[in-house]
């Protein structure tokens, strides 16, 4: 344990976790928006929209996040020289957020689609009967119920996203897993304590999310 507490003065552990939280929050918003659009594509009456949605899901969901991240940093930035911000750190942060959003959008889409499956046919038929067309029916009748039915898979996706923010280490974003590597590199005799600190940090982030998800999915379940 010798020197363990001095580590916190030397390394910004909380700052690193704050980075994971920022990545999670921004990528959650990004993937939710893109995922909802994709879900609308996948249930739309237009054949080509459905095809586009399905193609996106099959391509992105089956690609490792690490490849997407590395492709962004080494190919799109390194070779194609696409730059979002002049600032080096901010630019890589943006790359990480985009990669995380693109990847998790496919899971959000599937979660919402499984929520749509929980909406009884009669709801949509009733919406049509009162003259709502596809988009109003989706917005007013189907999606509100589908989202409530999709709380569990959405929560699981958020949990997966939180843990996957560590992959931003591939884009050299200063987050917790990268910090852990550095800390162990220079303090190998404390490696178990350092690992447990970071691991418990993630438990503190992730386990309440699971509890809230279960609680919300019970509370918001549509009574049928």
């Amino acid at each position: 344990m010798n020197g363990f507490f001095e580590l916190f003065a030397e390394y910004d552990v909380l700052g690193a976790f704050w980075m994971n939280i920022k990545l999670t929050a921004l990528a959650a918003i990004g993937s939710f928006i893109l995922g909802t659009i994709l879900a609308l594509f996948r249930i739309s009456p237009v054949t080509s929209f459905r095809t586009i949605g399905t193609a996106y899901i099959n391509i992105v969901r089956n690609t490792p996040l690490t490849i997407i991240m590395v492709l962004g940093v080494l190919a799109v930035w390194g070779q194609l020289k696409v730059e979002f911000f002049g600032d080096f750190d901010l630019n890589f942060f943006a790359y990480a957020v985009i990669a995380l959003s693109l990847y998790h959008a496919s899971f959000v889409c599937e979660a919402i689609r499984s929520g749509v499956n929980t909406v009884p046919l009669g709801q949509v038929e009733a919406a049509r009967a009162i003259g709502l067309t596809f988009l109003p029916a989706a917005r007013i009748v189907v999606l509100p119920q589908a989202l409530r039915g999709a709380i569990t898979p959405l929560g699981n996706t958020l949990i997966a996203l939180t843990k996957n923010t560590t992959v931003a280490a591939a884009a050299s974003v200063a987050e917790a897993s990268g910090l852990m590597s550095t800390m162990i590199e220079f303090n190998p005799d404390l490696m178990i304590y350092i690992f447990l600190t970071i691991a418990i940090g993630f438990c503190i982030l992730v386990i309440p999310m699971g509890i809230v998800t279960t609680w919300l999915s019970d509370k918001l379940a549509v009574a049928r």
């Binding site: 249930i43 237009v46 080509s48 459905r50 690609t63 591939a170 162990i184 993630f202």
Partner: protein
Amino acid sequence: MSAQADVMFDAPGPRAKRRILLANLVALVGVLAVVFLVLMQLNRQGQLAPNQWANALNGNAWTNYYLPGLQFTLQSSGIAVVTALVFGLVFGFLRLAPFAIIRGASAVVVEFFRAVPVLVMMFFLYFFLSRQVAPTGLIASEDSAYFAVILGLTVYNGAVIAELIRSGVKSLPKGQREAAAAVGMTRNQSLRIVEVPQALTAMLPSLLSQFVVILKDSALGFLIGFYELLQYSRQLGSGYSNILQTLVVAALIFIVINYLLTRLATRLAGTLSSRTGGATAPVTSTTMVSTMGQDVK
């Protein structure tokens, strides 16, 4: 799966058919425009030059880079899926044990391994194996990354599988357990002979989907210097400065394998559903609980 596609709309009439046709045309033009713009951009940067792609697709690339990389990816994932299954079976059983202390302790272990990101686990295991274990001569120092990948994948996916087994047993119709009790089986016999085998049959498709997760996560080994498909592709790409092309090939290899595995899992779910009282729809860590409750028909 076409049932839910029809949920949102009626069979289109003549006017809707015209509108759908129009929307299809708009989408086609949109997609073509995006593809065209991307290709233009790539072309301007010289990324479409024939030799860029030739070097990423020729015999040298396959025999010296992709195939050896794929071999290590498949090998580490294949071993990990077996060890994860063993880990999952042990902890799945412990989580159903009659003693609250064992149930509680195994729940803590499972929840811990599920909550810690695989990458954090791999980083730690890599340092631990290379600094603490390798000096004892148990494993070769250069194999540290390989074992760190396998172990990291094992504990995370093992914990997920333990959860799958537990929820699989819980989701069996309770008549199964009652029938086992009625013919005089103890709780342990009922679990071992009646419930877990059915839960296992039910989760075979999920196990295949978990293999997809393991394959994808094995690419995390890239970050601890494990020579798998992504690492080899990057190496090839930096050699010929065509990293965009080689990474795209690597991604395509992953997509094809994972797509086929997912298809197989869905087909298997259909075939197996008559052989178990449990739900066979493939479940992964992101769909886990939902499939237990809602998607099951």
